[in-house]
């Protein structure tokens, strides 16, 4: 797949107190951004675990955007700071596993920042287009047994 025709699949984990509202506001303001973003609402970015990110990559996501509140403005005081650490830890695992660490990024925005939210989406998608598709796309996951008890 050439990078020109490549449309990345971006998973955006959005905190319901800030970036999810910003995404909502972007809709109300009729701001346009590409449809290849899957927004997942979370109660707080502090709820997100490293294994969520790893599983998303394992299943073929091209990139992940973690969008939390401005630092100092977390509804749960420090959830976004925990998420920052976990995104950094995920980057370490990605590069050790052979994937580009730029495939995951954390941003901090408030509920009022609809336009910056859209800008971040565009920037992340541009980064992913530049990197290229995830090599884990279209790989039959059944070859890799996974059983949890």
């Amino acid at each position: 797949m050439s990078n020109e025709s490549f449309e990345p699949l971006l998973i955006a984990f959005c905190c319901q107190y800030c970036s999810y509202s910003a995404a909502d506001l972007a809709g109300s303001m009729r701001l346009q951004y590409p449809p290849n973003v899957r927004i997942i609402r979370t109660p707080c970015t502090g709820r997100l675990e490293v294994e969520f990110f790893m599983k998303a990559f394992e299943r073929g996501a091209d990139g992940i955007l973690v969008a939390g509140c401005l630092e100092g403005g977390c509804h749960f005081t420090e959830g976004n700071l925990l998420a920052r650490g976990r995104v950094g830890y995920t980057r370490k695992f990605l590069s050790e596993s052979g994937l580009e660490e730029e495939r995951i990024r954390m941003i901090n925005i408030s509920a009022a920042q609809a336009r910056p939210f859209v800008d971040h989406i565009h920037e992340m998608l541009a980064t992913l287009k530049n990197i290229g598709p995830s090599p884990l796309k279209n790989v039959n996951p059944s070859k890799n047994v996974e059983i949890r008890t």
Binding site: V50, M54, K55, E58, F93, S97, N144, V145
Partner: protein
């Protein structure tokens, strides 16, 4: 508790190279608390191994399981089926856990962690060593601060005079254990303990006398 650290994914891939069916086995006790080998770390490491495998065509089939405790047979038995249906076990337990599994099953068992020390959570995400299991505890002499573990020179009759301010001469990021001992004994009114000269330590009770065994005859049947 026992504190351990993860091995990097390239290290694990190197250890597992040539294997097909791999069980990543976590432990729900010490290494869960020190964020090295619990259910969460099993999931992360298993995902990373699967990703590595796909990118490098290693054909790993990775299964995940975490048991309550790897160093206890009652709990190890719960992993029996999973161990049997895999070719190899990558244990995210401490060194004791790895060996406990290896002794019970006729399968290769590899250490997925580097076991570091016996310690405590000193502050958020920071674990520090408190005990080297020397076999003959002298903590009562030193206000509950272990010079054997926490003094870089293991001095029983300290300080060494090399400390700078309250920092250890050998490791500037750690406090001088003897400074702590002095302050502690002073605060509990036991400074007199420092007036007696301690005899050289008998290290025979430590690992230098060979691998140790504890037997309680009253509990044997």
């Amino acid at each position: 508790m026992i504190v351990a650290q993860r091995k990097s994914i390239p290290e694990l891939v190197d250890i597992l190279k040539g294997q097909k069916k791999i069980l990543v086995l976590g432990c729900g006790t010490c290494v869960t608390v020190c964020l090295a080998g619990g259910e969460r770390e099993v999931s992360i490491n298993a995902s990373a191994l699967r990703i590595s495998s796909r990118l490098k065509n290693l054909a790993f089939a990775v299964e995940e399981l975490t048991i309550e405790r790897q160093c206890d047979n009652v709990f190890i038995e719960k992993a029996a089926d999973a161990i049997k249906r895999n070719d190899v076990v990558l244990s995210l337990g401490c060194g004791a856990g790895v060996q406990a599994i290896a002794e019970r099953y006729d399968k290769p068992v590899y250490a997925g962690l580097d076991t570091a020390f016996i310690g405590i959570l000193e502050e958020r995400a920071t674990w520090t060593e408190k005990c080297i299991a020397c076999g003959k505890c002298v903590l009562h002499e030193y206000g509950g601060i272990c010079p054997v573990t926490r003094c870089a020179k293991h001095m029983l009759n300290g300080p060494c005079s090399g400390s700078r301010e309250d920092r250890c001469e050998a490791r500037a990021d750690r406090p001088c254990a003897w400074q702590l001992i002095y302050q502690r004994l002073k605060s509990i009114g036991e400074l007199d303990r420092l007036k007696s000269i301690k005899a050289p330590k008998n290290w025979g009770a430590s690992i230098h006398g060979g691998s140790r065994v504890v037997i309680r005859e009253d509990h044997r049947i």
